[in-house]
C-alpha cells in the first residue's frame, strides 16, 4: 500500500528524496481521514522552514488540518495545480497530489522519519 521509496512522519506526511531536494505531501491515511479536499493553503516559494513547522493547510468539506514539514529546508516549489484541483490529493496522494518541494538543510533529519513498513505498523497501532 505505502510505497517503499518514501519516508513517513508521525503527522502523516510523506517525503521523497530527489538529490538535495525533497518532495512532500500527505499520506493516503491522512487524505482518507480528511475526506473530500476542497482547498489547499500553499506557502510562498522561498519560505524557510524548521522540521515540524507548518508548511500549509489542507481543508476538506468537514475539517481543516495543518501540514507540517517533515524536515528543515527552504520551499523551492509548490504544486500550483492544487489551487485548481485540490482533489488530486484524494485521487493520488503519493504522486500528483504532492504539496511542496523543499531544498533540504540537513539530510540526516530524514533518518528521523519512518520507512513504509514502520509507518504501516504505526497506523495499525493507531487503529487499536
Amino acid at each position: 500500500m505505502y510505497p517503499d521509496n518514501l519516508y513517513y512522519s508521525k503527522d502523516h506526511e510523506w517525503l521523497r528524496l530527489e538529490g538535495e531536494e525533497a518532495v512532500v505531501g500527505i499520506t493516503d491515511f491522512a487524505q482518507k481521514q480528511l475526506g473530500d479536499i476542497i482547498y489547499v493553503d500553499l506557502p510562498q516559494p522561498g519560505k524557510v522552514l524548521e522540521a515540524h513547522q507548518t508548511v500549509g493547510s489542507v481543508e476538506s468539506v468537514k475539517s481543516v488540518s495543518d501540514v507540517y514539514s517533515p524536515v528543515s529546508g527552504e520551499v523551492v516549489a509548490v504544486n500550483s495545480e492544487l489551487s485548481q484541483s485540490p482533489d488530486l490529493i484524494n485521487k493520488d496522494p503519493h504522486g500528483q497530489g504532492w504539496i511542496v518541494r523543499l531544498k533540504i538543510k540537513d539530510k540526516a533529519e530524514v533518518n528521523n522519519l519512518m520507512k513504509a513498513a514502520e509507518y504501516e505498523k504505526y497506523l495499525e497501532g493507531l487503529e487499536h
Partner: protein, 364 residues
C-alpha cells in the same frame, strides 16, 4: 456505544463510522461531495435510526402537545405531520422536532434529535403530568430510513403498495415497504423531495437492500451524516446544538412561522410575545464567505473591530459551491449585503449576509 440495526450493512458498504449521539453511525461512504450531489440530482439513502421516537397517548394528548409546542398541532388531522419545537418557559429550545398525528385528539408521535432523546423524554414526562396522557419512549424499537432526492418516489414506488403519487408533503401513511410494515412520511432533512420510513421490524436491512437494489441502477447512493449536515445547511434546516439551543429563542432563530399565538397558551408564550412586541436584539442569518476560506462552528465573528458573535454552522456547500454558514448577529447587522469578519484560524476574513435558504429546489 449503541448500534442501529443497519450497522453491519454500513460496514459492508465500506462506510467510515464515527460516534454520534451515543451511536456508531456512518459519516461517509464514497465521499461527502458525491453523496451530497447524488441527493440533489438523483437520490440518497440514509440510516437515521438514531433519531428518537416518543409517543404521547391519552384523552388529553392534543392538549398536552399544544402546551409543549409553539406550532398549532390542532390543525393536524390523522396522517399529517408538522415541524415544531419543544420550548422552555423562556421561549428557547429544548429541541426541534416533527409531530405526527396518529389519532385526533389522543395519539401523537414526536420525532426528536438523537442527542436529545433522553432529555426530551424526561421533559415531556415531567411537563405532561397535569394532563391525562401516557408518554412512552419508543426510540430503541424504531429504525428509520430516509430516501431523499428527485428520484425518491420513482425508486420507492415499486417496493410499496402505498400510492406515493397521492402522498403530499408533510403527510404519512402506514403500509408495507419490501414486505415489511412501515410508517412512510413525505418528509426529510435535505431540502429535497423524499420519504422517511419508520419500522418496528427487527430486520430493516431488508428494506435498505431492496431500496439500494431498486435505486442503484438509477444512481442512488448511501449517504452518511457528513452529507446529511451539508444538505440540511444548504436548505437552512436547523441543527440543534449548532443553530438552536436552550439559549436561543424561537423568534431569534427566525422561526416565527412555527409560533401560533392565537392557538392558546404554551410554554414560552409570554416571553415570545414580549420579544415580538419589543423587537429582537439578535437574529439568525445566513452568510457566505467573501474572502477565500471556510468558516467552521465557533469561529469568532467581528464587526466594528470587536467580537459580536460566533459561527453556529459553517461549511463548504457542495451544490451551491460556496462557503456558507449561519450566525446570530445584532439586528442592525442582519440586512442582506451587510459585511462582517470571521476569524478563520489566524486571519480575519470577510463574510456577507445573504438570503436564505442557500438552496431551494425547483417545484415541479
Amino acid at each position: 456505544m449503541k448500534k442501529t440495526r443497519l450497522n453491519a450493512v454500513h460496514k459492508e458498504a465500506g462506510a467510515r463510522m464515527v460516534e454520534f449521539a451515543g451511536f456508531e453511525m456512518p459519516v461517509e461512504y464514497k465521499g461527502i461531495i458525491d453523496e451530497h450531489l447524488a441527493v440533489r440530482t438523483r437520490a440518497g439513502l440514509f440510516d437515521v435510526s438514531h433519531m428518537g421516537e416518543i409517543i404521547v397517548e391519552g384523552p388529553e394528548a392534543l392538549a398536552c402537545v399544544q402546551y409543549l409546542t409553539p406550532n398549532d398541532a390542532g390543525k393536524l388531522g390523522p396522517g399529517q405531520v408538522q415541524y415544531t419545537a419543544l420550548t422552555t418557559p423562556e421561549g428557547t429550545f429544548v429541541d426541534d422536532m416533527l409531530v405526527y398525528c396518529l389519532s385526533v385528539p389522543d395519539k401523537y408521535l414526536l420525532v426528536v434529535n438523537a442527542a436529545n432523546t433522553d432529555k426530551d423524554y424526561a421533559w415531556v414526562k415531567e411537563k405532561s403530568e397535569p394532563f391525562q396522557v401516557f408518554v412512552v419512549n419508543r426510540s430503541d424499537e424504531h429504525s428509520q430510513l430516509a430516501l431523499q432526492g428527485p428520484l425518491a418516489q420513482e425508486i420507492l414506488q415499486p417496493l410499496t403498495e402505498l400510492d406515493l403519487g397521492q402522498m403530499k408533503s408533510f403527510t404519512f401513511a402506514f403500509g408495507k415497504v419490501a414486505g415489511i410494515e412501515c410508517l412512510v412520511s413525505r418528509t426529510g432533512y435535505t431540502g429535497e423531495d423524499g420519504f422517511e420510513i419508520y419500522t418496528l421490524a427487527e430486520n430493516p436491512e431488508v428494506i435498505w437492500k431492496a431500496i439500494m437494489a431498486e435505486g442503484g441502477p438509477k444512481g442512488l447512493l448511501p449517504v452518511g451524516l457528513g452529507a446529511r449536515d451539508t444538505l440540511r445547511l444548504e436548505a437552512k434546516l436547523m441543527l440543534y446544538g449548532n443553530d438552536i439551543s436552550d439559549r436561543t429563542t424561537v423568534l431569534e432563530a427566525d422561526l416565527k412561522w412555527i409560533v401560533k399565538f392565537q392557538k392558546g397558551d404554551f410554554l414560552g408564550r409570554a416571553i415570545l410575545e414580549k420579544q415580538l412586541q419589543e423587537g429582537l436584539k439578535r437574529k439568525l442569518v445566513g452568510f457566505e464567505m467573501v474572502d477565500k476560506g471556510i468558516a467552521r462552528p465557533h469561529y469568532p465573528v467581528f464587526a466594528g473591530g470587536r467580537q459580536v458573535s460566533e459561527v453556529c454552522s459553517g461549511t463548504f456547500a457542495p451544490y451551491v459551491k460556496k462557503a456558507i454558514g449561519l450566525v446570530y448577529l445584532p439586528v442592525e447587522l442582519t440586512e442582506i449585503g451587510t459585511e462582517f469578519e470571521i476569524g478563520v484560524r489566524d486571519r480575519k476574513l470577510k463574510a456577507r449576509v445573504i438570503p436564505t435558504p442557500f438552496y431551494k429546489r425547483e417545484k415541479k
